[in-house]
Every structure is written in structure tokens, then in C-alpha cells.
Subunit: 166 residues, 2 copies
């Protein structure tokens, strides 16, 4: 799928088919996360693939807006280590978006489930060291819905040379 | 350009040709930022296109690792408003990466210049309100270099169901 088209047509998918995600497709998606840029190329991230239903169920219960995670065939959690990079949130977020875009490109769908309200709880479930940050948990699978979305107009969010000037 | 290929072949470009960036290409790139996902689709971002040499020069002087910004035909700054979204760093970072990927897809190159060490100074130059965050300043132009890059192996950064377990 072409880049600009992929960026514009990617949607947050919350309903999934039962079909499993082939290992080959999963690896393409993780590889996209691996090739994301990071500050000074320090790559402070770890990706945790959630395939065990019990693990997905526990994480789903902890997430305020991610109750559907246990209905997705897979989850992917992105942790980032502030001891490795001083920009773990930027780097981890970019890796997560790279994963979501690649998922869309290979026909999968995903949704970023924000863990911040229960970050410590989910870290404990997944065994993520206390020193690391949990940036994103994503549900991944073949879409069983095709939601639409909207964005603000470009003219309303773009300035030239100075904030506020058109 | 195909998504997975674009993600893997995008590089941080620090040397640029003198050729100007056509308005049409700039709009494609900004549009990619506009279509990035954000928490609850709140789109807390503003994009400031830096085309005035004096503005680019001032910002370049303020950035610890972005001295080459004034040699790029364009800059794009991404601001994000914590009053609009509780996740301005995640959202702004994703929009910036969307812009960098789209730039690569249309044959341009860019480099994320981290403003954090001089965030307040650059915000003042660009007139960004004190309440907002400056997430990224990017240099944009046609590449005059083709740098290589490396990443950690997937097996060394990926776990299954639990941090540390293969």
C-alpha cells in the first residue's frame, strides 16, 4: 500500500475477525516498529507480543478504554527505557505508530489503547521493569469493521513562520 | 512508495539540495501530519512552516543539534496543546513522524531536531503560546546525501506474553 494513502486510510479498529495473524505478517509489523527513528538512534524500545488469551484478558481488564483487547487475536505492548534515552515517550510513540501503519498496510487493523491510567498495573502483569515506561498497548487483528473518521482542516492548524500567522 | 519499504528506507537527512519544495509537495506532507492518529482524535497539534531564512537561522542557532536547519529550504515545527489533550507528546510525535514518512515518500528528506534543551527559547522565536509544548522541529528538503543506518535485531527487542520471555 502506498504511504500517503495508508496514512489517510488507517483507522482505529476495535472489532476483529477470529482469523489468527500469520507469523510472517506479525514479523513485518514488528519490523516496521524496529525501523522507526529514535533520538540519537538509541532505540530504547521493547515490543511484547500478547498472544495468550489470559494475558490479554488481564491487560484488557486493567485498561480504561481497552476492554476489547481480549477479543483481538493479538496485542503488542511497547515499553521504552528512560535509562537508555531521554526521549522514551517520543521514541516509543513513533515505534507504535510505525507498527499501526504497517499493520494497516498488510491488511490488518489495530487500535492504540492508552495505558497511562493503569500503567503500573499493566507493567506488573507483563513483567516490565519498574524503571521502564509502558507507552502503548495495541490490539491487532483482521478488521471486522470499517469506521470513518474526520480531521480538522489544514488551514486551521497550519501557520507560516510564526504561530497564528497565515 | 510502498509503506513497509518507506519505513525501512527513511533516513535522517541533514544535507539538502538548494531546490525549493513545491507547494503541492509541502501540502501532501502536512496532510500526512493532519491524518495522524491522536488520543480521542483530539488533534492537539499546530504545524508551523518555516520558510523565512531569518526565522530558520534564529531557530537553528537555538537548537543544540540542528545547526543545519538554516541550510534546508524548509522547516516544520509541531506544537501540541496540553489543554486540548492529556497526551501532547505522544500525539505530536506521531504527527511529526507522519510528516517525515510522507516527505520520504514524495522524494524529500527530513530530520527531527530535538528542541527540548531550548524549547522555551524556540517557542518564543516562533510565537508559540507558553501553555503549549513544542514537540519537534524538522528540517525538510531534497536530500543531498544518502546515509545508511542500522537497527537492533528483532529477536533482541521482542518478547512474547511477558517481558524477558522469548
Amino acid at each position: 500500500m502506498e504511504v500517503l494513502q495508508a496514512i489517510k486510510t488507517r483507522r482505529s479498529i476495535r472489532k476483529y475477525k477470529k482469523d489468527p495473524v500469520p507469523q510472517e505478517e506479525l514479523e513485518k509489523v514488528l519490523d516496521a516498529g524496529r525501523w522507526a527513528p529514535s533520538a540519537s538512534n538509541l532505540q530504547p524500545w521493547k515490543f511484547i507480543v500478547l498472544s495468550d488469551f489470559k494475558v490479554k484478558e488481564k491487560v484488557a481488564k486493567s485498561l480504561a478504554w481497552g476492554k476489547f483487547l481480549d477479543e483481538a487475536p493479538l496485542g503488542i505492548a511497547v515499553a521504552a527505557d528512560p535509562r537508555v534515552s531521554s526521549h522514551p515517550v517520543e521514541d516509543g510513540s513513533i515505534a507504535a505508530y510505525s507498527i499501526l501503519l504497517a499493520a494497516h498496510a498488510v491488511g490488518l487493523g489495530g487500535c492504540w489503547l492508552n495505558p497511562s491510567a493503569s500503567e503500573e498495573e499493566v507493567k506488573e502483569i507483563l513483567g516490565i521493569p519498574k524503571e521502564e515506561r509502558l507507552i502503548s498497548v495495541m490490539s491487532i487483528g483482521y478488521p471486522a469493521e470499517a469506521p470513518s473518521s474526520t480531521r480538522k482542516e489544514l488551514k486551521d492548524i497550519t501557520f507560516t513562520n510564526r504561530y497564528g500567522s497565515k
